[in-house]
Symmetry: C2
Subunit: 282 residues, 2 copies
């Protein structure tokens, strides 16, 4: 059944249109917003899609207003889709209590714990429902790439590695590469998935890359060396280790002086758009 | 007396540093914040300065996070200074009652009405105190340009035309070009300046351009044709008329489909930085 979209915002940007839509998500059983940038090329032909998955506490607004992707998206003719980071307004007790669990912190997984499993299905939302919505409503090709920041960088690596047929290019900004071994991931996985530690592995980029069978040969990662979360939560170097002996070559760029903010993301956004365009626009 | 600056934020951006400072303003008699972007070139040599004056309701944050100027500022080696739009927290009765008068709406003038004249001195703040602060604290040359948006576009034209020795390049996004003839300007001028209509003329770009004696020969203005304020408040074409017979040639670009938002500003920001660089970096 086609999801009905309500346009909440439409602003011309770099010759294209930056829009925000609201729809009722069947997976999440609530009303959700997402951003979609339609480059000028989309008026005349089908364009490929890049999904951008945001980090903890974000809505679709953060990257839409501060990510600075529209310029490069217009250059290449790429549609950019920016979902929210969790179900919203679903009235689960405690969902708003912490910044790293519950609302704003869906971790791009399908919860299995009773309390959360009805609504917290961001994995299925991002990999199935939303791509169908995009295909049904916009002028897009079947080519898609995925990127994201922090929790969303983890999300990009996870959905990318688990769905080789869906995403032909993968990159990330400051991703949580090894969530099973850091506090953010451990808290989220225990909360959403309970005590079944085996199930955590399906959310862990360092684990998933080992069995990746798709044709993505290079993953681009930018990470600020001044990022306050680098040592305890992100542990970027673990991903370099994990890729050894796999089909994936990580291009990890440790950026001197950069932090975890959108000032960092916007600085390197064009490089990521250029990277994805090599697949998406070829 | 040198104004003591407190650094409130520092983020690396496009190889430079986007900072926010707080200081006690002698003109405004309150604590003020401003943004300053230091391009990478400023580490090794003095750089010219572009002042960006924001519009109604803004603080320094709007353009710092959404204006997208850092990329082009780094390309050219331009320091970008972004003041707030009014005194803050000065406890004048009614100052927070409307979006277009009082806090967030200083209109870049020096008030003469008793109620406002002690604090609302944004003209002197922007043209005297702040440039001194910048000169005393940062690695800058004497070359400066000025731009801004809406109320701040008006501000850029006003301070530019009234201070030919201070600003060698002038541009504006969606400026209020003829405030004496539109509701925003009439309300503000009556409130801040009382009934002395003669004094309003010193705040009106269309009036000021007629006596401009500086060496700026071209003023760049971008204006969205989809801007909801164009017909009633901005009246861009009045400026084209006003420039006839003067030394100033306006390059007015009416941009199809663009609105009054930062999506519009960020789209054309690079063109404005390039425009200012022809003077600032020559």
């Amino acid at each position: 059944m086609a999801s009905k979209l309500t346009e909440k915002a439409c602003n011309r940007s770099f010759g294209g249109l930056q829009k925000v839509f609201e729809h009722v998500s069947a997976e999440l059983k609530c009303s959700m917003k997402f951003g979609v940038y339609l480059p000028p090329q989309a008026e005349k032909k089908k364009c490929p899609v890049l999904y951008y998955l945001s980090g903890l506490t974000c809505t679709e607004q953060n990257v839409v207003t501060k990510g600075g992707f529209q310029r490069a998206a217009a250059k290449h003719g790429i549609v950019v889709v920016c979902p929210d980071t969790s179900p919203r307004g679903v009235n689960i007790e405690g969902e708003d209590d912490s910044y790293d669990f519950g609302s704003g912190a869906g971790f791009y997984l399908d919860a299995t714990e009773d309390k959360w499993k009805t609504h917290y299905r961001m994995y299925s939302y991002v990999t199935k429902e939303l791509p169908n919505v995009i295909r049904d409503n916009f002028n897009v090709t079947d080519k898609a790439g995925v990127t994201g920041h922090s929790m969303g960088g983890m999300g990009a690596l996870v959905v990318g590695f688990r769905n080789p047929d869906l995403y032909g290019s993968i990159s990330a900004f400051s991703p949580i590469v090894n969530p099973i071994n850091v506090p953010w991931g451990q808290k989220a996985f225990k909360g959403y998935l309970g005590n079944d530690a085996e199930s955590y592995l399906k959310q862990d980029p360092c684990h998933l890359v080992k069995s990746y069978s798709g044709f993505v040969a290079e993953v681009l990662i930018d990470q600020g060396l001044g990022d306050q979360f680098l040592a305890d939560q992100l542990k970027t170097e673990s991903f370099r280790e994990a890729c050894k002996g796999t089909k994936v070559t990580p291009t990890i760029r440790m950026q001197e002086g950069y932090d975890h903010s959108y000032f960092f993301i916007s600085t390197f956004m064009e490089d990521h758009m250029d990277f994805h365009s090599r697949y998406l626009c070829s």
